[in-house]
Symmetry: C2
Subunit: 192 residues, 2 copies
Amino acid sequence: MPVADRRRRERANRHDLILAAARNLAEAEGWEAVTTRRLAELVEYSQPVLYSHFAGKDAIVRAVAIEGFADLAAILREARLSADDPQLALRAICSAYLNFAAERPALYQAMFVMPTDVKFASEDTPQPLKAGFGEFVCALGPFDRHPDLRAEVTWAALHGLAVLRRGGRIPPERQEERIDLLVSQVVNDRRD
Amino acid sequence: MPVADRRRRERANRHDLILAAARNLAEAEGWEAVTTRRLAELVEYSQPVLYSHFAGKDAIVRAVAIEGFADLAAILREARLSADDPQLALRAICSAYLNFAAERPALYQAMFVMPTDVKFASEDTPQPLKAGFGEFVCALGPFDRHPDLRAEVTWAALHGLAVLRRGGRIPPERQEERIDLLVSQVVNDRRD
DNA sequence: ACATATCATCTAGCAGTGCTAGATTTTACT
DNA sequence: AGTAAAATCTAGCACTGCTAGATGATATGT
């Protein structure tokens, strides 16, 4: 049945095409511009085709978010490995995280702001998400015997900085100083 | 012109009535349930009346948010003053902030998550918002010669914990330990 | 007391949203 | 070529925020 194989391939291609279109449109004009009509027009199919691939608009956002988890994990890993000193590694991870959020605000929003039913911190957490969090755990290991809680708090602080900055609720200046302070607070309150 | 006075009074009452209805409905069923139709029905007027008070739905959300800033500032102030030791005061403020976010999630969302054009950290910042931030600055003064940046980072961390918790992205357990860690990181990295 | 002018309010509708049932076309196999 | 099945589209529903124009109530001048 090579015909069914081809069908599956074509469907998979279109699946990816939809996700890429959604992601690009969101990044270019924000998620409020991503309507099922515009998305259908972009992929040159009618709206119901979208629903043959995804349960609804929310499912599309979720799928884009999961792609983002993999991107972020890779970026964090690279940042951590590019520095040899533990403190510099922590600094690099924090900086990379905030850069990711600032450069791909729509993707970041899908991953960490919009409502989701993705399980965080559980057995059935998507592997790339686990990996991303694991980077924080690794980077914090040198400073804490139980780095999980420390990773949660550090991640929360970075997330707060990211979303408050993007919402215009903290000023754009001095962001580097904020990262320095964050890192300083970790390395000066060791638990090992 | 006592008639015009009465008119103004009645309008002001209805203004508040609309805001109270919006806030209650949002708190009970979330902001997605706050439609202009339901809101109009609740206040027993037709939709256009809402638009004679507010420029649009966004303006209503903003007005609710500004009410919330005053509430939060009062709560933070009380928390800070209820403890005499600086470390306990900081602990109390952090705890009160997260309680506020957890107990009034919709109000908190209007204040700190939804898009807004309220100016933060500027001359024309609403006074109650300045006051709230000022509480953090006061609480952090004993630990930092330049408490403004420290207040931003601490606030960001708390905000991160609040929204990630509410979104189900960090587990509900051990929230107290997270606060302890946050406070510990501040008091063990003094800048004075 | 009545007509008038002004103000307040409502009805009805527009353009947009996510989503879907049913008609229609395209595809694959006999 | 004819048919069954699969894929796709058209057209529409119920909802959203918002508004123009009709309708109503109210205060003022004679």
